[in-house]
Amino acid sequence: MKRDELEEAFVKYAPMILRRATSLLRQPEEAKDVMQDVFIRAMTERGGFEGRSEVSTWLYRITTNLCLNRLRDGSRRRELEALHLTPPDAPLDPGNPEQRILVQRLLAEADPSWSEAAVYVLIDGMSHDEAAALLGVSRRTVGNLLARFEEWARARLKTHLTSDQLVPIEREGAA
């Protein structure tokens, strides 16, 4: 891809990528790094931008996975784990600053395939059909991935999320 073609793609898609990365990472500088990585990845993948009918969905998925990788990254993970969090009684709201770190931590710790499906449906508000099309799986598989994520996350929220270790709540009184 020539420079002017990249520039054209950048003008068109960079805002979408930046918004997507910012919404998951909540750190503007890190989101910009991801944006750069997305374009590098897009240009080095086979075929690059050429011949793709839905570039935005392709870039959206690359961005999501790069962001989830960052959340799983060791140093970021430690940063998330250093925060003492209290699971809320009400449903989690990723838009709530106090709860977004908890959401990020769940996404970082869950199985990658569950996290990706959870991001699309529970955070981005996609229908199961939309997520299925994006993931390249069936609608039923999306439902299964979400069910596994939710089951795991509910169990995970019953533990203390402290900086040092995870202590099941059930053991709290016995200690």
Partner: protein, 259 residues
């Protein structure tokens, strides 16, 4: 009914997902959906705010910052020469390795992982249960192309495979002919054990198979398990037992015509 884990991500049921909103702004939605979005956007305060937020974000990328980032991207990406698609190169570089001819019958009471087939027409078909993917490439008369599940094949067509697995693990590709005969496509026709593959996508597995002159519908099954397994392990196992072992699977259909 238990409390939902997450608050509903959409303020109203009519609000589009974030991706749909982006695609609408990029002009990528079909005309009908786009028109519906135009109407919704004009009446939804939340989506109005979304548009404003996006415009502000786009404006925050200054021309100087954009030029700088493009420069960094250009430097990071190695110079691209005019090259044939990778699968054409792969065939050329690795040559063709006949893996079987005819039905090497592997008689096993093999019950495949229960799963529904994905929609036909996708280029990379049939993933299920956690991102297991099987891509098939056909070489016919010197031309190589990616083929879709359900496509018609004929004697002499040569197939190679690309796979995608969620984690490092062990795989085997087994073909099942219309008459029920089984044969191993990968690691090799005579293989009795799975082989270890890295996590993620492997663009082209080594080796290829050549189709014989039998006709009818055949299925190619990619089986992935965290632990090594033998072909004999698949005998008599049902989907539930395979799933308990953490195995995943996907299938690809071919219609064979004898000419």
């Amino acid at each position: 009914m238990s409390t939902p884990l997450f608050k509903d991500a959409r303020p109203t049921p009519d609000c589009p997902s974030e991706l749909a909103f982006d695609r609408w702004q990029l002009g990528e939605l079909p005309a009908k959906d786009s028109a519906a979005m135009d109407v919704h956007r004009s009446t939804c305060a939340h989506c109005e705010a979304r548009a404003t937020e996006r415009a502000a974000l786009a404006a925050s990328i200054s021309p100087a910052a954009r030029a700088q980032m493009i420069q960094r991207v250009m430097q990071a990406v190695p110079a691209q020469k005019e090259r044939a698609p990778w699968w054409r190169r792969a065939f050329g570089e690795w040559g063709f390795v006949p893996a079987f001819a005819g039905a090497a019958a592997v008689l096993m009471a093999f019950v495949y992982l229960g799963q529904e087939p994905g929609p036909k027409g996708e280029l990379e078909v049939l993933r299920s249960k956690g991102s297991v993917g099987l891509t098939v490439y056909r070489e016919r008369g010197g031309e190589v192309e990616m083929v879709r599940s359900g496509e018609v094949m004929t004697r002499g067509d040569r197939l190679r495979f690309g796979i995608e697995v969620p984690k490092e693990g062990h795989v085997m590709i087994v073909g099942v002919e219309a008459n029920g005969s089984r044969y191993v496509c990968f690691p090799s026709s005579g293989a009795s054990h799975s082989t270890l593959v890295p996590a993620g996508r492997t663009e082209a597995l080594p080796g290829a198979i050549e189709l014989d002159d039998s006709s009818g519908r055949e299925t190619l099954h990619l089986i992935y398990c965290p632990e090594a397994f033998a072909l004999s392990d698949l005998a008599g196992l049902d989907s539930a037992r395979l799933a308990q072992r953490g195995c995943l699977g996907t299938l690809f259909e071919i219609e064979k015509e004898s000419r």
